[in-house]
C-alpha cells in the first residue's frame, strides 16, 4: 500500500511514534502544517498541543513541559529560530531534551516565506550565546522526515540537549508518493529517570561525558533547574573548578559520543576521484546527478550528510581520502563547504580541491548543475 503525503505530516507522525506528548508553536510559513497536525493529533493520544503568543513563548512552554516529564517538540522557520535563540541556550544549559524542527526558507529576516533555502545550516549550529554544541539531523525526503524525527527524539533523550531536525520548504511541503512498508524507525529511547528513592542531585555526573538522569517536576524528588552557571545541585556558582567542569561537560557529553550521532549515506564507486557531498533537499539532486554521471561512464562517489552537527568527521574524512575533487551542493553560498574545506585540510596526503554548487535564487539546484562540476573534475 502507498500514500501521497508531505514531510510535515511525516514529521508529525514520527513525533507521535517517538512518544511526543507536548507541542507548542507559532504559525510561520512553511512550518505551520506541522503545528496544525500536532494540534489536531496530540489530544487524541492524551497529549497537549498549543499555539503560543510568539516563538519565545513556544520554546519556553516546551522547556517547562519537558522538565515536567513530557517529550516535547516545536517547529518553525528561520525567523522563528532567531527568536528561539535565548531559549536554545537555556535548553543547552539546563540540559533539556528538546526537538526543534527548522523548515528553512530563503534569505535573512522575513526573506522568502514560500521559497526554499538551506541558509540556516551554520545558524542553527551557532544559534545561541556561549558557543556550545547541539545536534542536528537533516532528512532528504518524506520517509526520512519520519525516521529522523524518531531519531531526533532518541538523541534528545540520550544527550539531554536541543536536537534540530533541519528541513526546508520543499521537504516539508512537497507531496510525495511513498510506500507504507518503507517507513523505518529505530526503537524509541526511554527517558532515563533517577531512582525514586535516595538523594537526587539534578546535575551530578561521574564522568564529564555522562548525561545525568532526570526527575520530573512533580515527581518523587525536589528538582532544581537553572539557566545560570551552576553546581551539581543546581545552585549558582563561580567556583572555577565547578564552572569549568559544567562547561566542559556540556560540550563533552556530545563531542565524546560523536559515533552515536554520526549518520551519513555513502554511495561509493570504485576508482572515483570525485566525491559529491550534499544534504537535505539538495541531496536528491545529487542522487540524480550521480546516476546521470555514471550513465555517461564517469566515476563518481556521493555522500549524503544526515547528521549535520556535530559534523560527521570520521565518515567525511574517510570518503574524501584519495579524492581529487569534492563537490559540495547546497542552497546557500557555501556554509557546509566551510566544514568540508576544514576537513580537507586535515587529510593526510594529497588534499582534494573543494568546489561548491550554490543557489540562492529560490530555485532548487538542478542535477545538471552538479553534473557540470563533476564533469570537469
Amino acid at each position: 500500500m502507498r500514500e501521497f503525503i508531505d514531510g510535515a505530516e511525516a514529521i508529525a507522525r514520527g513525533a507521535l511514534a517517538a512518544g511526543c506528548n507536548f507541542f507548542a508553536g507559532y504559525p510561520i510559513t512553511p512550518a505551520t502544517p506541522i503545528l496544525l497536525h500536532m494540534l489536531r493529533e496530540l489530544p487524541k493520544v492524551g497529549g497537549v498541543g498549543i499555539q503560543a503568543e510568539d516563538e519565545i513563548a513556544s520554546l519556553g512552554f516546551c522547556i517547562g513541559a519537558a522538565m515536567a516529564g513530557a517529550k516535547v517538540m516545536t517547529a518553525t522557520s528561520g525567523p522563528g529560530i532567531s527568536l528561539y535563540s535565548e531559549n536554545i541556550g537555556l535548553g543547552i544549559m539546563g540540559e533539556v531534551p528538546l526537538v526543534i524542527v527548522d523548515c528553512q526558507r530563503l534569505g535573512p529576516a522575513t526573506g522568502g516565506a514560500t521559497t526554499v533555502g538551506q541558509g540556516d545550516v551554520q545558524f542553527i549550529r551557532w544559534s545561541t550565546s556561549g558557543g556550545f554544541p547541539i545536534i542536528a539531523l537533516c532528512p532528504t525526503n518524506v520517509l526520512e522526515c519520519y525516521s529522523l524525527t524518531v531519531r531526533a527524539f532518541n538523541l534528545a533523550e540520550r544527550f539531554r540537549c536541543p536536537v534540530f531536525l533541519v528541513t526546508d520548504k520543499e521537504v516539508v511541503s512537497t507531496l510525495t508518493s511513498v510506500n507504507l512498508d518503507d517507513y523505518q524507525a529505530e526503537p524509541v529511547v526511554e527517558r532515563r529517570l533517577a531512582p525514586a528513592t535516595g538523594d537526587f542531585v539534578p546535575y551530578r555526573v561521574e564522568r564529564l561525558d555522562d548525561v545525568p538522569p532526570m526527575s520530573p517536576f512533580g515527581g518523587p524528588h525536589l528538582v532544581r533547574f537553572t539557566t545560570s552557571t551552576h553546581d551539581e545541585r543546581g545552585f549558582l556558582t563561580k567556583d572555577p573548578a565547578k564552572v569549568d567542569r559544567l562547561n566542559r561537560h556540556l560540550a563533552e557529553k556530545i563531542e565524546a559520543h560523536r559515533d552515536e550521532i554520526e549518520l551519513v549515506r555513502l554511495d561509493p564507486q570504485a576508482g572515483a576521484k570525485t566525491l559529491v557531498v550534499s544534504y537535505g533537499i539538495t541531496a536528491r539532486s545529487m542522487q540524480e546527478a550521480v546516476a546521470l554521471a555514471r550513465q555517461r561512464g564517469q566515476k563518481v562517489s556521493a555522500l549524503t550528510v544526515y547528521s549535520l552537527w556535530p559534523v560527521p568527521e570520521r565518515a567525511l574524512r574517510q570518503a574524501m581520502a584519495g579524492m581529487g575533487r569534492v563537490v559540495v551542493a547546497e542552497l546557500n553560498l557555501g556554509q557546509y563547504r566551510l566544514e568540508i574545506e576544514r576537513l580537507a585540510g586535515l587529510l593526510d596526503g594529497p588534499r582534494p580541491e573543494v568546489v561548491g554548487v550554490h543557489r540562492v535564487d529560490g530555485e532548487l539546484i538542478a542535477p545538471q548543475e552538479i553534473l557540470e562540476r563533476v564533469g570537469d573534475g
Binding site: 489530544p43 492524551g46 510568539d54 513563548a57 515536567a68 533523550e157 520543499e170 524509541v188
Partner: protein, 474 residues
C-alpha cells in the same frame, strides 16, 4: 492536608541557605518571608510546588526555598511556568519576578492572564533594575531619577495590575512588602485555580531609595498620588486553561481523571526503587497510522518521467486538483511529486502546481523544462513564462481558449470550457486534467474518478465528477 496524619511543615525555607543575599533594607526578604508564611499556611507538598524565577535580584529567590526551583531567562519565567502547568496541572507554580521582568516579558504576562493559565505571579516591584545598577523600568514613576534617567523619568509607569486585569487575569491584587496581610493574600493567590498576580511594591535601598530620597512613606504616597488602590482588585472564576484544555480537547471526563492528567513520558523508565544507572531502555515506536493508504488498482503507460506544470489562478482549485491527479497516479502504480506555488494571500493571484509522474522514484522535484503545461488563467501564465519558453515541439501545451493566442513552439491543445458547458471556475482544473489524461493515456480516467471519490467530500466530488464528464467534449 490532614494535620493529624501528616507532620505539619513549619517552614518552606531551605535552612542550608538561611541568609538572603539581599541588601540591607531591600524588600525582597520581606516578601520571601511572607511567601514562606503563605506556603506554611497552605501546607502544600513541596514536591508539587515549583518556584519559577526570572532575572534580577529577585531571581535569586528560588535558592532559598525547599521546594522545586526553575530559574529561567529574563522575562520568560511565565512561559516556563505555563509549560509546567500545561504538562502537569497538579503542580502549584509560583513565578517570582521583578518589574524588569514585567517589562521584557510583558507580552507573556498579558497572554498568561488572557489564557487564565493557573500560575501565580509575584511581582517584586521596586521601580528599577537593582541588579544592573539602578536603571529605570516600566514601573519607574514619572520624574523619578535613576541611573538611566538622570534628569528625571520622562515615561509614565505601567500599571501592572490594570494591564493584566483588563486582559482577563482572574485574581489581581496590589499591596506593599510592608503589608501584614501579605501572607494571607499570597495564600489566596496561590490557592486560586486560574491566573493570579500580586503586584508588591517595595524599596530598593541600593539605588531607588538614595536616588530619589525614597522611603516607605514616599512609596505609600506614590500609590496615593497615582490613585492606585491596594488589596484584591479583581477575582473571577472562569476555567483554568490546563484543565479546560483537557476537558475540551482530550475529553478528560471519560478518563475519570478530573481533567488533570499529567504528561508522563511514554515508555519512560519506571522511577522505581531499582537503580536507573546504566543505559536507558527502549521500546518499539507506535505503529504507523494512516488514513489514506492507496492500493494499486489501475495500470499506467509511462516509461519515463512526465513533468507537468498546471498554471492557474486562486479559486480554480489548482492545488487540490493537482493532488487528485497525484492520488490517481498512485492508484495507477506511479511515483508522484507535487510542488505548489502561490502568493501568501492565498485567495488572490496565481496558483501553480508542478507535478512529476514517473514509473520510478523521483529525486529532483524541480521542473525547469516541462513536458506538458496546462494554462488555465492569466495569473498563472504570468509566473510560468520561463517554463513556457523552455517547451519544445515535442511538448504539449493545453490552453484555456480565453488565453489564446500564445506564442510557443509546443503543440497547442485548446480547451474550450465555455463550449463544453457545465464547467465552472472551481472545476476547470479537474476538467483540464481529465482532458490531459484522455489525450495522453498516462493512466485511466477511472483512476482519477476513484481518487475523487476516495479523497473528496461528496458534494465537491459530484461537481468534479460532473466536470470530468463535461470535459469529454473538450
Amino acid at each position: 492536608m490532614n494535620a493529624f496524619l501528616t507532620p505539619q511543615i513549619t517552614t518552606y525555607r531551605d535552612m542550608a541557605q538561611a541568609k538572603y543575599p539581599f541588601c540591607p533594607g531591600c524588600g525582597h526578604g520581606l516578601i520571601l518571608d511572607k511567601l514562606n508564611a503563605a506556603l506554611v499556611k497552605l501546607q502544600l507538598d513541596p514536591r508539587q510546588v515549583v518556584i519559577v524565577t526570572d532575572i534580577g535580584c529577585s531571581g535569586l529567590s528560588d535558592q532559598y526555598f525547599s521546594t522545586n526551583a526553575f530559574h529561567g531567562l529574563h522575562g520568560r519565567s511565565v512561559t516556563y511556568a505555563t509549560g509546567l502547568k500545561l504538562a502537569n496541572p497538579e503542580l502549584k507554580v509560583i513565578v517570582i519576578m521583578g518589574d524588569g521582568g514585567c517589562g521584557i516579558g510583558g507580552h507573556h504576562l498579558l497572554n498568561a492572564a488572557r489564557r487564565n493559565v493557573g500560575v501565580t505571579v509575584v511581582v517584586c516591584n521596586n521601580f528599577n533594575y537593582g541588579m544592573t545598577g539602578g536603571e529605570h523600568s516600566v514601573t519607574t514613576p514619572h520624574g523619578a531619577k535613576t541611573s538611566s534617567t538622570r534628569g528625571g523619568n520622562l515615561e509614565r509607569p505601567m500599571d501592572i495590575c490594570a494591564s493584566v486585569a483588563v486582559n482577563g487575569a482572574s485574581f489581581v491584587a496590589r499591596t506593599t512588602a510592608f503589608d501584614n496581610d501579605l501572607p494571607d493574600l499570597l495564600a489566596r493567590a496561590i490557592a486560586h485555580e486560574g491566573f493570579s498576580l500580586l503586584d508588591i511594591w517595595e524599596l530598593c535601598t541600593a539605588y531607588f531609595v538614595p536616588n530619589n530620597d525614597f522611603s516607605k512613606s514616599a512609596l505609600l504616597g506614590t500609590l496615593e498620588s497615582l490613585h492606585l488602590p491596594t488589596g484584591i482588585l479583581q477575582t473571577t472564576d472562569y476555567p483554568e486553561y490546563s484543565r479546560a484544555y483537557r476537558q475540551t480537547y482530550q475529553g478528560a471526563g471519560e478518563q475519570g481523571s478530573g481533567g488533570a492528567e499529567e504528561l508522563g513520558s511514554r515508555g519512560a523508565r519506571e522511577q522505581g526503587s531499582r537503580g536507573a544507572e546504566g543505559h536507558a531502555g527502549t521500546s518499539a515506536p507506535l505503529p504507523l497510522r494512516t488514513s489514506a493508504s492507496l492500493p494499486t488498482l489501475y495500470p499506467h503507460r509511462l516509461t519515463a518521467p512526465l513533468r507537468l506544470v498546471i498554471a492557474g489562478a486562486a479559486g480554480q482549485k489548482i492545488k487540490s486538483t493537482a493532488s487528485l491527479l497525484g492520488v490517481g497516479a498512485v492508484l495507477s502504480g506511479l511515483w508522484v511529486t507535487q510542488r505548489d506555488d502561490y502568493p501568501v494571500t492565498i485567495m488572490s493571484g496565481h496558483s501553480v502546481a508542478e507535478v512529476i509522474l514517473s514509473p520510478e522514484e523521483i529525486f529532483y522535484t524541480g521542473i525547469p523544462k516541462p513536458d506538458a503545461m496546462l494554462l488555465l488563467a492569466l495569473e498563472g501564465l504570468r509566473v510560468v513564462q520561463r517554463q513556457l519558453a523552455a517547451l519544445t515541439a515535442q511538448d504539449t501545451l493545453y490552453v484555456h481558449t480565453a488565453l489564446l493566442p500564445i506564442e510557443t513552439t509546443a503543440r497547442v491543445v485548446p480547451l474550450d470550457f465555455a463550449k463544453a458547458g457545465g464547467i465552472d471556475r472551481r472545476s476547470v482544473a479537474a476538467a483540464a486534467i481529465a482532458a490531459f489524461l484522455r489525450h495522453t493515456n498516462v493512466y485511466p480516467l477511472e483512476a482519477l474518478q476513484e481518487a475523487i471519490r476516495r479523497t473528496q467530500r461528496p458534494q465537491i466530488a459530484a461537481q468534479n465528477l460532473a466536470a470530468i464528464e463535461a470535459s469529454a467534449s473538450l
